[in-house]
């Protein structure tokens, strides 16, 4: 027999996390406190997401992990291997084949479908934290729907920069009630949060919070009538696959400062190349 508990965590811990997940689904966008456990990986490596994955995985799952869109970073590989060993799951890099996808800082380009679960690693779950360091105060602000300061901060961006400069972790309002931090995804991904067919679960380990978006939930990025939200990205096609609709990473490709734009979602880019799509920098 295995030397680990199934999915590493003991049963009582998983029950506690599972109860928190159900509350999160019942109150979309509300941060449910939970008693985070030590995991055999450092904070910042996604212990919140790992604990949520441990609570939802079954041995029948096919598991994918992406780190900033890539399946092959040390972080992604280590989490994938961890659950392959402890939960006996199959693993994949193909977005459409996965039943559970753990992600750090991206939503896959390919639309997710019913039956899939997207688990986000969250460093700072409280969208109001930079305005108010005290948890007791931010909790009160959420309870009273006191979100005026949040709008003031975004508006200061506009007066300073001519536009809203926040480009990651761009705050959203869920079902007209809770303001939520979508984790540090680029705001390009924000429109995918709403009306998604998959279940979205968010885990913050250090801050001990779990929150959730059921499928087909209304999620609106905060904005202003005269400055509507824009899901911006680099204005280039992907150098490898030619995609014009994907989020791009900028790579330095030589000592002379040569640059290239490539899809951050490596599965999306590779699948396009495999079906004959070619960008200007492809060999």
């Amino acid at each position: 027999m295995t030397e680990y508990n199934f999915a590493y965590l003991d049963e009582q811990t998983k029950r506690m996390i599972r109860r928190a997940i159900l509350k999160g689904l019942a109150i979309p966008g509300y941060q449910v406190p939970f008693a985070s456990r030590e995991m055999p990986m450092p904070y910042g490596w996604g212990t919140g997401g790992v604990q949520v994955s441990a609570a939802v995985l079954t041995p029948k799952d096919t598991f994918k992990v992406i780190d900033q869109g890539a399946d092959d970073t040390t972080n992604a590989v280590s989490i994938r291997t961890f659950f392959q060993r402890t939960a006996g799951v199959a693993t994949t890099t193909a977005t459409s084949d996965a039943t559970v996808i753990q992600t750090r800082h991206r939503i896959p380009e390919e639309p997710l479908h019913e039956g899939q679960i997207l688990v986000y690693q969250v460093p700072i779950p409280e969208p109001l934290r930079f305005l108010e360091p005290r948890e007791s105060e931010t909790r009160k602000m959420h309870s009273l729907e006191e979100y005026g300061l949040m709008h003031v901060k975004l508006y200061e961006d506009i007066s300073r920069h001519g536009h809203i400069a926040t480009s990651y972790a761009y705050p959203v309002k869920v079902e007209g009630r809770y303001v939520m931090d979508p984790s540090p995804i680029p705001k390009f991904d924000n429109p995918k949060l709403g009306d998604m067919a998959a279940i979205q679960l968010f885990g913050a380990g250090r801050e001990q919070r779990i929150y959730a978006l059921p499928p087909y939930t209304q999620v609106v990025s905060l904005d202003f009538e005269d400055h509507p939200f824009e899901a911006s990205k680099a204005d280039h096609p992907c150098g490898m696959c030619g995609a014009t609709d994907s989020y791009l990473d900028e790579l330095i490709i030589d000592d002379l400062g040569g640059r290239m734009f490539v899809c951050s979602d490596s599965d999306y880019c590779e699948a396009r190349q495999a079906t004959g799509h070619k960008g200007k920098d492809a060999a």
């Binding site: 199934f6 999915a7 109150i27 509300y30």
Partner: protein
């Protein structure tokens, strides 16, 4: 202690509860959908689905209220052995277990606080049927609308007005379950509304 007190848990507790949780989670995430849930064989009057939900979610940290017929020696002994959960009255429970009529009145259960709306009870309702009929559901988790056989409509409408506070519901029947979180808007299906108008 009776023999069936000791039996009827998940054959493999870790894997059995992992599968059962996914059924519960899918049900809560997609209100109105009916999910299969297997692996538990509790003594009557607990259904297999009720047993599986309780094994999956309950332990020494989750006070349970057993309502009406559910408050019997067989159920108490089985839950005490398999979950260790303490039994309490409705005002202090985290989970309430019973048939719909026995669970009333709903006003006695914890609905959470404005700062901690999660500190609320989940009612697990044993039903004689579970079908896509009678009530129309809309809200988070539901693409357009869903239908579910609810024991009534008004109680869920009143619960919805408390949002983000309120109660969440799981309906069990045989080896199947459905759920209704506090976020769901409930109305009478139009066919039933017409039938009611016709009857009045």
């Amino acid at each position: 202690m009776q023999a069936n007190t000791l039996s009827g848990g998940f054959a493999d507790p870790a894997v059995g509860s992992a599968h059962a949780f996914r059924s519960v989670m899918e049900a809560m995430a997609r209100p109105g959908t009916i999910q299969d849930i297997e692996g538990a064989a509790p003594p009557a009057p607990l259904s297999p689905a009720m047993g599986a939900v309780l094994l999956t979610l309950c332990d020494t940290e989750t006070p349970i209220y057993l309502a009406g017929d559910m408050d019997c020696d067989a159920a108490r002994a089985w839950l005490a052995f398999h979950t260790g959960a303490p039994f309490v009255g409705p005002a202090h429970c985290m989970f309430a277990v019973g048939k719909w009529d026995a669970l009333a009145p709903l006003a006695v259960y914890p609905i959470g606080t404005s700062e901690y709306p999660d500190r609320s009870a989940t009612l697990i309702v044993e039903c004689s049927e579970l079908a896509a009929s009678s009530a129309t559901l809309t809200g988070p988790g539901i693409k357009d609308q869903a239908t579910l056989s609810l024991p009534e409509v008004e109680a869920f409408q009143a619960n919805r007005t408390l949002f983000p506070l309120g109660l969440d519901f799981i309906f069990t029947c045989g080896e199947r379950l459905a759920a209704l979180p506090r976020s769901t808007e409930v109305s009478r299906s139009s066919s039933e509304a017409i039938a009611q108008v016709g009857a009045s």
